[in-house]
Every structure is written in C-alpha cells, then in structure tokens.
Amino acid sequence: MLPELHCSNFEDRAVLYAAGELSVAERALVDAHVRQCAGCAAILSSELELREALASRVQPADALDRSEHLLAHCRSELFEALDDAAAQPERAWYSAFLPWRWITGLRHAFVFHPAWSAATMLILGLLAGTAGREWYRQISLPALGRPVVTISAPAPITQQELEKIDLDGIRVEPQSDSADPKVELQLRSPKPRVMQGTPDDAEIRRVLAYVIGHSHQFDDGARLDSIDALRPKANDPQVRAAMSEALRHDPNPAVRLKAIEALRGAGSEPDVQSAILAALAGDDNSGVRIQALDTLFDQLASGDSSSAPLDDQAVSILRDRMHNDSNSYIRSRSADALGRLASLDEDAPSSGGRHP
C-alpha cells in the first residue's frame, strides 16, 4: 500500500507511474493530482520523457545479436558442454586429487586463456633463469658424492686445507650503501661447502688473501674477484701483504694493475711502497709501471706527512726510469716526480740534499 500522495513524494510516484507499477486507482490519483498541480505535472512529464528517451535507445542485445547467431552459438556450446559432462563417468571424491584432473584443468584454462598461459610461461622462465642456476650449483656439488654443508658463519680452515682448496666460484655482491660487499665462496674441495659473509669476517678475509697470493693454485678470475672483495680492507696487514705479493709476482698484468689500484689507499705503508717501486723498476708491462708511477706521484703530491719518505733506492729508480724507460710518458712523469721530490727537500729545513 502506497502512502498518501503529496507534492513531496510525487517524484517517486512519477517513477512508479512511468514504470507501470501503479494500480488503476493509484494512476487515477496521480492523473487527478497533476491536473491541479503544475509543478507535479512538469515532474511527471519529465519522467515520461526520460522513459521515452530510454525506450528509444538501441539496446546492445539488438545491435549485437540481431540475427540471433550469437544465441545459436551459445546454445550449441552449452549443449556441447552438457554432452561432455554427461560423457564423464561419476567421479569418486578422491578423483579431484588425481594428477590428470589437474593437468586437464590447466590445459583447458590455457587453451581458452592465452594471456594466462603466456604469463605462466613467463613466470616459469624467470624461475628457471633465477632459481635454476642456484639449483644447478646445489646438485653439481653432491656429484662428487659428498654432502654439501652451507655455513653462514665460516668454520676455520686449516693451512693444509687452504693449500688443497679448489674454488668453484666467488660471488661478490656490492651493497647499495657504503657497506662492505657480500661474499660467497663456493669450495669444491677439500670438502664441498659454501662460505658466506663479508670481508669483515676474518676467515673469509684469510681465504681471499690466500687466493690473491697463489696464482698457481687459482685462476685469474678468482684472483681478480678476491681483490675486488678485499679492496675495502686494503689497510689490513694480511690483505696488504697478499696484494703486495700479487703486485710483485702475479703473472697476469690485469691482476697486478688491480692490486695497485686496491693498494692506492695504503701506499704510505713501507711494504706497499716497496712493492710499488719494484713494479715501477721491473714490471714488463708499461700499464703497470704507469699505474705504479702515478700512485707514487699522488703520494708525493698529497704531501702526506704520515707517508714513509722515499729513500735513495726510490730516487735511483725514478732516475733510471727518467732516462731508460721505453715509454715516453713514464720518462717525463719520472722527471716530474724527481722535481717534486727536490722541491719537497728544499722546503724541508733538515734536508741533507739527498734528492736532485
């Protein structure tokens, strides 16, 4: 039963009137009201116009399936689906857990949703690309028939073990902030293990320093990676010694160059200075000699008072390079270095006139 008709509730009544939801008596009341009330008559007229406009709309159903081809197609698909359903035998409750049910379901999903299948293939590809490498590494280690031990806090390795170490790989992950890089050492022997940590870990540092200093035992890549990993710790005596050793004796000039670069911050230490001078005097690679000379020159130019003073041997080496080096840059740069030394001597009140 509708409430009594007033101007205040006429709008909703007009909606029901236009929608054909009023009884004959209710319609008569509305008709009588609009004859007396111009405002409500306008509302009703507006409602009927709206309805007429909506009725004149071309309905999507008429536009999309005027010839009922879509209806016929829908029927045919539905009856086909019903046939399929009828053809399948009654399934036991456990059939939902059978693997071929899942495979069939996936096959249907992929056939009818190519975007899903593309996305799934992409995800599988990414997983294979990222996790596959790790998985291969994991399965390749037990191939030796030994269990794999992953140790986050590295266990001490004896000197004998170090001498027998066979490295499978070194991974250095630089950190976004200024923190030390993360290092992962994959050892194949004496027993398969993975050591993880940073150069702050003494055991990691010890192994890496050992790798740098033993070119006959480890390949070039391992030595270069080890220098990269230990670069932030070049002031550590053990690291410094290993890098100095590499600078003097490593057969690969790239390793020697990298060692000089890493030692640049520690060039004031006597052992480092000695190694740099040795490289300048005797390295057969001009790139290494130039790097050594530049490091020496930077040290002189900085006027670092904490640096060890260059002795007569250094002056002698610089003179020799100035006259005899095959590289013109080294000859002229050595002369600059000697000039710089002379000016430093003049400035020093206690100078004994050692330098030219």
Binding site: D12, L50, R51, A53, L54, A55, Q59, D65, H73, R75
Partner: protein, 226 residues
C-alpha cells in the same frame, strides 16, 4: 487466459521500444507444461532440459548483452548460468516460479561479473557499442558529410539521436551493478518489481529504492537532453 494476461499474472510485462513486440509474450507457456518439463529434466531427460533452455535463454542472453554490452562476456554469462541451472535443477522444489529461479541465478552471475569488472577493469573484454554508434564513430568527417548529404534521413536528427544514445549508454554504465540490473530488468525486460525482488532475493521495497536511485542518477545525467 490470453498469453499476455498469463505473462502479467507471472509478473512479467514485456516492454522495450515502442512498437516492439513484447519480448516474453509467447515465450512463456503454461506453468503446468513447464512443470512437466522440469520434472522430466530433473529425472535426467536431456531433451526436456533443452526445451526449457530454449524457452528462457533468449531473455537470459538479452539481459546479459544489455547489462554487459559485450558479446564475449554475455556468452560467458550464458554458459555459466545455464550450467549452474543444469547442476542445481534437481534441487528446484517449485517454491517459486521457474523463471524467477532462473533469473535469480542469471542475475547473480551478472552481478558477480559486473563487480569483477569494476574491481579489475583491465581484465575485461571491451564493451561493444551499438551498430549505429560504431558506424558513426568509424566514419571520418567526409564520410559523415557524404552520408548526411546523400541520405534520406535528417542528419541533424541522426546526430541528435546518436548524442542521446551515447549519453544514455554512459549514464547506464555509471549505475552501480545492482541498480544497473534492476533498471535493465524493469525497463528492458519488463519484469514487475515484485518479480525482480524475488530474482534478486530481496524485498520489493528494496528494489523500488534501487529503481528510484537509478532513475535519479539517470535523470541527473541526462538532464541536458530535454
């Protein structure tokens, strides 16, 4: 009882464009005939079920097409709804009219689809507009000029009709899923509010309020047309 009176007695009065034959008139046969078919379908008679499908599926597809505006989505709705009807038919207990029961399932599927479309618009098939709009949209300026010059119809009137059609489409799309379904069932399917309430599992008053809200929104959006 005439077929029209029968339709009205079941809460259905087909409306639509002026002059259009009532959509459901003639589609509905007597409840007794339906009952026999339903009982036979419930006992596993596929042919009986197919007859039932063919009695009601035209309106189901129309509802889906009008509400979703996409042939692809409407096909999905049709398939999903009738498979549900088939699976649940043994549980139908004749406590409401069969068409009400069908509409309950169809409107639920439509509402789910509309809600999904609202929350994931990027996953949906594009809404297809009416042929008239498409033709007009695809033609370039010169084509339109030519068509206007050579056509027998009044181009200004055509353009106005197109503008009105587009505005009505936009206004209908702006309704909430429930308002959209109620409006469609009332204005284009010709169902009585009581029947819509039964189909949506709610009261007639609630449906009435949805219709009022929908009408107010449409009136506000289409006010410039009059």
């Amino acid at each position: 009882m005439s077929s029209e009176a029968m339709a009205d007695s079941q809460g259905i009065r087909a409306l639509g464009a002026p002059g259009e034959a009532p959509a459901l008139r003639g589609e509905l046969s007597s409840g007794a005939e339906d009952r026999v078919l339903i009982e036979r379908a419930q006992s596993g008679d596929r042919a009986a079920f197919e007859v039932l499908v063919q009695r009601y599926d035209r309106q189901v597809l129309r509802l889906a097409l009008n509400v979703l505006g996409s042939a692809e989505d409407a096909q999905d709705i049709y398939q999903e709804a009738f498979l549900k009807i088939y699976r649940n038919l043994p549980r139908f207990r004749f406590d409401c009219a069969f068409y009400t029961w069908i509409y309950r399932i169809v409107t639920n599927v439509c509402l789910d689809h509309l809600r999904r479309r609202r929350s994931h618009p990027e996953d949906q098939a594009p809404v297809i507009h009416t042929d008239a709009s498409d033709e007009r949209r695809s033609a370039d300026f010169f084509d339109r000029q030519q068509a206007a010059g050579g056509g027998e119809s009044n181009p200004e009137r055509n353009l106005l009709g197109l503008e009105i059609g587009n505005k009505i489409e936009a206004a209908l799309q702006a309704l909430s899923p429930r308002e959209r379904v109620v409006f469609e069932m009332k204005h284009y399917q010709g169902l009585k509010l009581r029947a819509i309430g039964e189909a949506l599992g709610t009261t007639e008053d609630t449906v009435k309020n949805s219709l009022f809200r929908a009408t107010r929104k449409l009136r506000s959006q289409l006010s410039g047309l009059r």
